[in-house]
């Protein structure tokens, strides 16, 4: 399913208009994603996360219910 986080750096894109403030990303990858205080919308805390976070980042992308997160 998920390819895991092997290889080089990851690039994270978010389409905030689609975000439904579910908190799934911040739950799965807390160091990388947070949520705005005023509306719960995702914020990327770490655009180029360390390798040990890559798997969690991929998991967040798969589990985000609104397909907001794009990982390359």
């Amino acid at each position: 399913m998920t390819g895991g986080g092997g290889g080089g750096p990851v690039r994270i894109g978010v389409d905030v208009d689609k975000c439904v403030a579910s908190g799934m990303c911040a739950f799965v990858a807390p160091g990388v994603f947070g949520q705005r205080e005023e509306d719960g919308v995702v914020v990327v805390l770490h655009r180029d996360p360390p390798e040990d976070q890559h798997e969690a980042v991929h998991e967040a992308a798969v589990r985000c219910p609104a397909q907001v997160i794009d990982v390359e």
């Binding site: 399913m1 439904v20 579910s22 739950f27 949520q35 509306d39 998991e59 609104a66």
Partner: protein
């Protein structure tokens, strides 16, 4: 095999709900596996009289729930099971669960921070811990046996959602009554209005009070956040928001909590693994939600002629997404019928998927996590007081799970300092 034989109206439609035999109180009805393999998109007749496509494969369920453009929530998420939920009724001003697009986002983004963010969960954790500890102390003081569902799970989840929104525990009866009527399949629309009116009157007073005197609760912050935005919520909308958190907010969680404990007690090797390594508790919570799947399928309606997994579906057709069956799909989970408290990855659909995915999921996770941590720490001798086969299951509620979980213990250890 091919779709031509199963258009609406055929006399030999499969009837929902499928029977749930006593021998397997944890999984989806056993017939689901065969459907998933042979007819993953199949025409069914629902107890409310509508016909729909039942979808059982993981990829198909995710596809439908993830595409609000092709599949709208407008008809209502449980019109297949709740007689009072007429799919053609107009969408109420606060019925956000039936809205799509910008109207929906307006609700989601004001309420979201109160029930989803890591900061909010960290704030709520000590309250939940106190509720769990106090309830265990009370049960220990009363003896060495209890009904874990009625005496623990219901009061704890009720107090937690009440505390979150800002409704005192003494006033729980109003939303308990509303939930009992809403989630019974048989109620009429008139009965629902009858039980919702006193709840709405009560909440209206609460809204007026909190507008005048904000407190440290979600309602007060929802009011403040909404006032700061472009289209502040009206009092009527605020009442609806409170009801929408309180009514689905406790019994689903209480049922998964009780059903989850029962599942662990029936899988002693997995329970022992958890006891030996409590760091597995978060993944155990995910696994319990996957394994049990709290919701009896949810409904969407096709907005255009389209396909699900290659199977044609016409505009206006209803679709029932069987997340329970999807979460046992061998194509998505290795050895899916095995309870594995360490399962990773676990991209289950127990809270749904897509824009309408459960609002309260982080709150539910928090309550389930704190409960498991505390039970393992304080009541290591917890066990069933009756044989598994004698545990009664609910009938007449769309939230499936045990009606009672009789448990016993040798001692409840002191609360001590929470981790």
């Amino acid at each position: 095999m091919d779709a031509s034989t199963d258009r609406p109206g055929g006399p030999d439609l499969l009837d929902l709900p499928l029977p749930q035999p006593r021998e397997c109180p944890f999984g989806p009805p056993p017939e689901m596996a065969g459907l998933r393999e042979r007819t993953p998109v199949v025409r069914v007749k629902c107890p409310t009289g509508i016909t729909a496509w039942l979808v059982t494969r993981y990829d198909d369920v995710r596809d439908v729930l993830g595409d609000a453009g092709r599949f709208s929530s407008r008809a209502g998420q449980a019109i297949h099971l709740m007689a009072h939920a007429d799919p053609d009724r107009p969408v109420g001003d606060v019925e956000f669960s039936r809205m799509d697009g910008a109207d929906y986002q307006r609700f989601r983004r004001i309420i979201g921070p109160e029930v989803s963010t890591a900061q909010r969960m960290a704030e709520l954790r000590p309250m939940v811990q106190d509720l769990v500890d106090e309830r265990l102390d009370a049960l220990a003081a009363a003896g060495q046996a209890a009904d874990f569902y009625g005496d623990f799970a219901v009061p704890v989840t009720t107090a937690a959602i009440g505390g979150l929104v800002g409704v005192p525990y003494e006033d729980r009866e109003l939303f308990h009554n509303a939930a009992a009527v809403m989630f019974s399949g048989a109620t009429s629309q008139a009965d629902v209005l009858k039980v919702m009116r006193p709840l709405h009157e009560y909440l209206y007073k609460l809204v007026v009070t909190r507008r005048a005197e904000p407190a440290d609760d979600s309602l007060s912050r929802i009011i403040a956040r909404s006032e700061a935005g472009e289209r502040p919520f009206t009092d009527v909308e605020l009442v609806g928001i409170c009801a929408a958190l309180l009514v689905p907010g406790f019994d689903t969680t209480a049922t998964v909590m009780a059903h989850g404990l029962l599942t662990l007690l029936a899988h002693p090797a997995e329970l022992a693994r958890l006891r030996a390594d409590p760091s597995l508790i978060p993944s155990a919570v995910e696994e319990i939600v996957r394994f049990l799947g709290g919701a009896p399928g949810i409904v969407r309606q096709a907005t255009r002629d389209t396909e699900i997994g290659g199977h044609p579906v016409a505009e206006g057709d209803y679709v029932v997404l069987a997340m329970q069956a999807a979460d046992r799909d061998t194509g998505a989970f290795p050895d899916p019928d095995r309870l594995d408290v360490g399962r990773r990855p676990n991209n289950h659909l127990g809270f749904g998927y897509g824009t309408h995915q459960c609002f309260g999921q982080q709150t539910a996770r928090l309550e389930l996590t704190v409960t498991l941590e505390t039970l393992l720490r304080r009541v290591p001798s917890l066990r069933l007081a009756v044989p598994l086969d004698d545990v009664p299951f609910k009938t007449g509620s769309i939230v499936y799970g045990p009606a009672e979980v009789p448990v016993t213990w040798d001692a409840v250890l002191p609360a001590g300092k929470a981790g």
